[in-house]
Symmetry: C2
Subunit: 403 residues, 2 copies
C-alpha cells in the first residue's frame, strides 16, 4: 500500500510560490462545523432546499435526449455559444452591453480569479483590494505571489480615495479588485459616488479594475447601482456566476472583458483545463432559455430577505448593545464588529461549545493583518428557526464574555 | 457597446509568463476542420456515437431525484468520497494499490497537469519529457515558464537512458513526464525494460515521475504492462481520466499521489476553482457503481480496434511505401513519418484541398524543434468508411507530392 511509502521530501521539491499557498480557513472550519449538532453561520452556502432540482432533472434529460453527442463531447474553450448569447442578452438589463465574444465561461468565479492572476500578476506585483476582502481572491493570487496593497472599507464600501496613496508610495498596481455589491464578508455596497470616484482614479492612473459580482442579483431592498463595467468598459473585467442563483455544484461562472483580454484568458484556460464541462453548460443554458433563472432568483430574494431580517432582529434582541453590525441590502453575509475585549478567533471555541459557528474576521485580511474583532455570519444556509436559535446561543456566550 | 472601446494596451499589462502562452495549434486547427465536408483525423476526440447517453440520462435522473440537494451544492476540494473509493478499488486491478486519500478528483487531466506545474515548476526549471510529447502538457507548463529538456522517443517509447545526460549537463529536473501507454502523439508503449530503467534512474537521481495514462484501458492487443506507479509509488504521480472511457464533456479525471502531495494539490486546486463539479462527479459515480464503465470500455476497445486496423490497412494499400508508421497496441493515434521531401506543416494545405486534416508533427515538439516530417492521425473519431476515404485522399496527395 502506498500509505507505507517513505516521504521523499515533497516540500523541498516545491516551487517558491507554494510557500504562500495554504488551505482556506473556511474550508477547514467547514469540516469542523459539519457536525450535525452545530448551527453553522460559517459557510457561504446557498439554501439547498430551494435548489431547482426538478428543473435540473428536466434539463439534463432534455439535453441528453436531444443533443447527447454534443453534451458529452469536448467543446470550445470559450464556452458553449448559446449560453454566451443568453448571458450577453441577460446582462444588458443591468447595463452591461456586450457581445458573446466578450464572454468566457469558467468553472466558477474562482477560476476567473485564478486565470486573471495568471495573466496579470508578476511576483511581488501590487494588487489593490479592500481589507477585509474575499478570501478566495487572496488564495488565488497568493499562488502568484501577489503583494496585496489594501485600503480601508467603510459603510460606503471600499475607500477608493486611498488608492492614489498606494501609487504615490511607489507601487504599480496590476489591478484593483472590487466587490461592489453586498461585499463578502462585509455586506457593504459601493456607493454611486465611490464608483464614479474609482473610475476617475483608474483613468487618471491607468488602472485595470476587476469587478467581482456574485451577489448582485440578490438585492432585498433599494435600487440597483450602476455596474463599474458600465462606467469604464475599456478597463473593467466583470465576473458573475450561477453559484448563488442556480446552484454552486455545477461550477459555472463567466468573465466579461474586452476582446483582446478574452483571447488571452482563453489561452490561459486552455492550459488550465481545456474547457468548462459541456454537459453542465448545456443544462444551465436549457434552464435559462426556459426563463427559469429569473423566476427562481425572485424566489431566492424573498427567502434570503426574510432570513436576513430574522438574523438582524435576533441580534438586536439577544446580543449586547456594544456590538455593531452592517445592515446589508443584499447578499449572504453580516459582519458584526465586537468590542476590543473579544478576539473572534479565540471566541470561536466558546461559540462551538455553544454549538454555533462563524468565520473569524482575520481570515479575510491580506496577511491576516486585522479583523480580530469582527466576524462573518452567513444567513442564507439556515432556517429562520435555526438563525434565531444560533444567534441566541451566541448572545449567551457573548454576554458571558463581556460580563 | 464594448466592441467600440479603445484598447488600453492589454499586452503591456501582462505578466512575463504570458509570453510563453499561445493558443493550441490543435484547437485552432479543429476550428478550420469543423467544416462538414472535411474528414478530420486532426482531433483526439472519442467517437460520440458510442457515448453512453442513456446511462448518463438515467444517472442524472437518479442522482438528482435521490440526492439533488447534495449534487447541486458545494463539495470538498478533494472530490466526492464515494467516487474516490470506487477509483481506489478500480485501479487495484492494474496494480495501483492506494487509499481514497491518495486521490484528488480534477477537471480533466489537463487540470492535473496545470496544478502539478503550479506546485513544482520554478521559472526556467527543467522538465524532462520526450520529443514528441503531449501538446497539452507543453501548454500547461509553458505558463510556468518551464525549460523543457527533451529526450528521444523510439519504438520502445521514451529513451529514458538519455536522462542522466541532462543531469550531467547541469539541469535539475523538477520531474520526468511520461506517457507510458499508447503515447500521444506517437502511439508507442514504454517497454517493461524501459519502465524498470526509468525507475532506477529516478531513484539514483532522486527524480519525481509524472505518469500520464489517459489511454491505458484502450488496449487492442497484447498484455498490460506494469504501471510505473507500482514500481516506484514513493515518487510517482499517476494521472487517469474518464474522458476516453466515459466522455470528455463531463471533464473528470483523477490524480494519484502520496498523501503529502495530495494535500498540496488540494491547496492548489482550492485557489484554482474550489472543487470539481458535484453533479458530474455523482453522475459518474452512479454510472461506475452500476458496473457500466467496465462493459462500456470493452465495447470501445472493439470499435477502436477495428478502426485502427482499418486505418493501418488503408495506409498499407494507398500510401507510398517510403512512409513509415507505428502500429500502436492501443490508444487513439498513428504517427506516420514522411520522407524529407514532405514538410507536414506545408503539406497540410494540400491535404485540406483534398478535404482531409491531421496535426503536423511540429506541434508536439517543445519549442517546435522537430517533427516537421511526422504527422498525428486520429482513428477514433471517424467511421471505417470515412477512414478509408480519408486515407485514400491523403494517399493521392502524397503520391503527387513525392512524384
Amino acid at each position: 500500500m502506498i500509505t507505507e511509502v517513505e516521504n521523499i521530501g515533497w516540500e523541498d521539491r516545491m516551487a517558491s510560490r507554494t510557500q504562500r499557498m495554504k488551505s482556506s480557513v473556511i474550508r477547514e472550519l467547514l469540516k469542523l462545523t459539519m457536525r450535525p449538532d452545530i448551527i453553522s453561520f460559517a459557510g457561504g452556502l446557498p439554501a439547498p432546499e430551494f435548489f431547482p432540482i426538478r428543473e435540473f432533472d428536466e434539463a439534463c434529460h432534455h439535453v441528453l435526449q436531444t443533443e447527447g453527442q454534443v453534451a458529452l463531447q469536448y467543446s470550445p474553450t470559450e464556452g458553449y455559444p448559446p449560453l454566451k448569447e443568453f448571458l450577453a442578452e441577460y446582462m444588458s438589463k443591468y447595463g452591461i452591453l456586450v457581445e458573446p465574444e466578450n464572454i468566457l465561461i469558467v468553472c466558477g468565479s474562482q477560476q476567473g480569479l485564478d486565470l486573471l492572476g495568471k495573466l496579470f500578476i508578476e511576483k511581488d506585483g501590487c494588487v489593490v483590494c479592500s481589507r477585509p476582502t474575499y478570501l478566495g481572491a487572496l488564495q488565488a493570487w497568493n499562488a502568484y505571489e501577489a503583494n496585496f496593497c489594501s485600503v480601508d472599507l467603510d459603510d460606503q464600501g471600499m475607500v477608493v480615495e486611498q488608492i492614489p496613496a498606494i501609487i504615490k508610495a511607489g507601487h504599480t498596481p496590476r489591478f484593483v479588485y472590487v466587490l461592489p455589491n453586498f461585499h463578502n464578508p462585509a455586506g457593504t455596497t459601493l456607493s454611486e459616488d465611490r464608483r464614479n470616484r474609482l473610475v476617475e482614479i483608474a483613468r487618471e492612473h491607468d488602472l485595470v479594475i476587476i469587478e467581482d459580482d456574485p451577489y448582485g442579483e440578490l438585492r432585498y431592498e433599494g435600487e440597483d447601482l450602476t455596474p463599474i463595467f458600465r462606467l469604464a468598459p475599456e478597463r473593467t473585467i466583470y465576473l458573475s456566476t450561477f453559484s448563488k442563483t442556480l446552484a454552486p455544484g455545477i461550477r459555472l461562472a463567466w468573465v466579461v472583458a474586452p476582446k483582446p483580454l478574452i483571447q488571452r484568458l482563453v489561452q490561459a484556460k486552455q492550459g488550465a483545463d481545456l474547457h468548462t464541462g459541456t454537459l453542465v453548460q448545456m443544462v444551465a443554458n436549457d434552464i435559462c432559455q426556459r426563463g427559469i433563472l429569473k423566476q427562481h432568483v425572485k424566489r431566492l430574494r424573498k427567502v434570503y430577505h426574510a432570513r436576513r431580517d430574522t438574523m438582524l432582529d435576533a441580534i438586536e434582541e439577544h446580543w449586547p448593545a456594544e456590538i455593531s453590525y452592517t445592515r446589508p441590502a443584499g447578499g449572504l453575509f453580516l459582519w458584526p464588529r465586537m468590542p476590543e475585549a473579544i478576539d473572534t478567533e479565540e471566541f470561536l471555541e466558546r461559540a462551538v461549545e455553544e454549538k454555533v459557528a462563524y468565520v473569524p474576521g482575520f481570515a479575510f485580511y491580506p496577511q491576516g493583518a486585522g479583523g480580530h474583532h469582527a466576524m462573518r455570519l452567513n444567513f442564507s444556509n439556515a432556517s429562520e428557526e435555526m438563525i434565531n436559535e444560533g444567534v441566541y446561543r451566541m448572545g449567551v456566550a457573548l454576554k458571558r464574555e463581556l460580563a
